[in-house]
Amino acid sequence: MTGTDMTTTTVKIEKPEVPGAPDGNQRASRRLGLRMRRSWQLYVLLLPPLVFSIIFLYWPMYGLVLAFKNYNITLGITGSPWAGTKYITQFFHSYLFWPVIKNTLVLNIYALLALFPLPIILALLLNSLRNQRFKKTVQLITYAPYFISTVVLVGMILMLFSPTTGVVNRPIAAIFGGPVDFLSASAFRHTYVWSGAWQTLGYSAIIFLAALAGVDPELHEAARVDGANILRRIWHIDLPGILPVTITLLILNMGQLLNSGFEKVLLLQNPNNLSVSQVLDTYSFQIAFQSQIPQYSYATAIGLFKSVISLILILLANWLARRVAKQSLF
């Protein structure tokens, strides 16, 4: 038994002394060693999740060097010969480079611009409701599609929006004289983004609702006494109240900008919409797993390119948020 009441008490008393201690470093490190030994059971508890992270999250990171090697399956990652920046350059010079970059950016920026403000609006609408029962019902229903799988969502799109048998196309055909192919190149982006709205709006609103719950109701009362109407109160009280959460989420979303929706894009892809639906992720996937000869190195180079852009985006967003709003993630 290492952790008796004595040890905890000592540790607790020691803590505040550490920074001011005269021969601080040596004593502190000895104490740290002691504290680590006392906490060995906690490290044992941590072991399974750490091992999991190392094997399935960190080990693959090492695999990113594949982008700079000529991968040979029998030689393995370490044994394969170096290729320099061959595959990176190959991607830069590929005729698909600009189309794929453009598709990736357009699709994701469109989704961000359309889907970021809507949950805020939904939350503001819900928050100003006085009928709790109606509010709960709306939330319960709009939250539900978040738990529907991507395959089911895409299945619903394929069936309900089908040009020949889809229920959505019946009124459209009746009014406009013909059905709309929602998966055609011209409609693909809208279908992708607005089906995403259907699925995630209710869920995304929750976090803003919680932030709104933290806004002091007395502010509203005071403003009402002063004659502010509801729109003014939303603008001057509610919106400033949720600004910190909004900025945090915006930064997070920026960082994830290029990561979203791979499965959905892949499932919605067809030969007709490929010109707008081929994004970095699907292109990399196709080269690695759907071509006659799998080109792992080239596919990794494309994936690496995407990761680097993502990282730059998140750092940029973080820097911007610190400059503009005096707030940042790290």
């Binding site: 038994m1 952790g3 008796t4 009441d5 905890t8 740290l32 504290r35 680590m36 059971q41 906690l42 508890l45 941590l46 399974p48 999740p49 999991f52 992270s53 094997i55 999250l57 693959p60 990171m61 695999g63 990113l64 594949l66 393995g76 609408l125 819900l126 100003s128 409701l129 109606f134 709306v138 539900a144 599609p145 738990f147 529907i148 799988s149 991507t150 395959v151 089911v152 299945g155 619903m156 394929l158 069936m159 048998t165 229920v167 259907w198 709006l201 209710g202 929750i206 932030a211 509801i230 729109l231 959460v245 067809n270 990399s284 690695a288 797993f289 792992y296 994936g303 690496l304 990761s307």
Partner: protein, 296 residues
Amino acid sequence: MRIRDTRGDRAYFVLNYSVLTVFTLMVLYPMIYVISASFSSAKAIADNSVYLWPVGATIDAYKTIMDSPNLLIGFANSAVYTIGGALLGTALTVLAGYAASRDDLPFRRIIMFFFLIPTLVSAGIVPTYIVVRQLGLLDTRWAVILPGAMSVFNVIITRTFYQMNVPQEMLEAAKVDGADDFRFFFRIAIPLSKPIIAVNLLFYGITQWNGWFNAFLYTSDPGLMPLQLVLRELLSQSAVNPGMIGGGDVAELLKRRELFDKLKYAMIVVAMIPPLIAYPFVQKHFVKGALIGSIK
């Protein structure tokens, strides 16, 4: 004191209720339609006469599912992945979340960063695939469950739960009584954290139930396919060629095609319903946890 609404305020509320009602109906309608179509007769679907409620109600699509060995195997596989993934993910998350919640754990911040970094820089599909292959997991059930077993987001929520609900004083009291960290964790922390364990189980369970990509990428054995993957195959079949499902004369083909469309609706329902039944149980706890975890 009560202040009367201004006319502008009343107009706002009318608009508010209308917008929310329309939006809610738009969210609800596709789900109702799919369920209605799955219970309608094949003829009604082919005639495009289903709009809201089932037309010519029948359950023969569900009977077809119950008679089809492929679909039943998919169902059984999904159950295995859901239970396995839920147990494994929850175990990993609770261990990491509890340990990281302890103020007195040296290097706790570094450990948290260690869990967080992969969310910023992920290796991507190809390197992960190669690791899974090197581990010899291809074409095993492990490959479906393991690679995405733990979500860092859940670890953060779970950690926050322990910080808020298992106070330091309780730990000190237990230590006075001679409990070590293991004992405290298993005898006190775990029983106190039933809500967060339930949330984790349901969340990981739903993720596994909804998953198809790991199975698609790492296995080629039809016997390992989860329901979502079976559904995907079923859906993509007609997208390519409606005639693929059966040969023979045109009338027979059309009849099969009609049934086939209905079968797809029924499959969508079967794949959709379990998470929808489970989620109201998760919602309350998860919302609370998610909020605490992310606002911090």
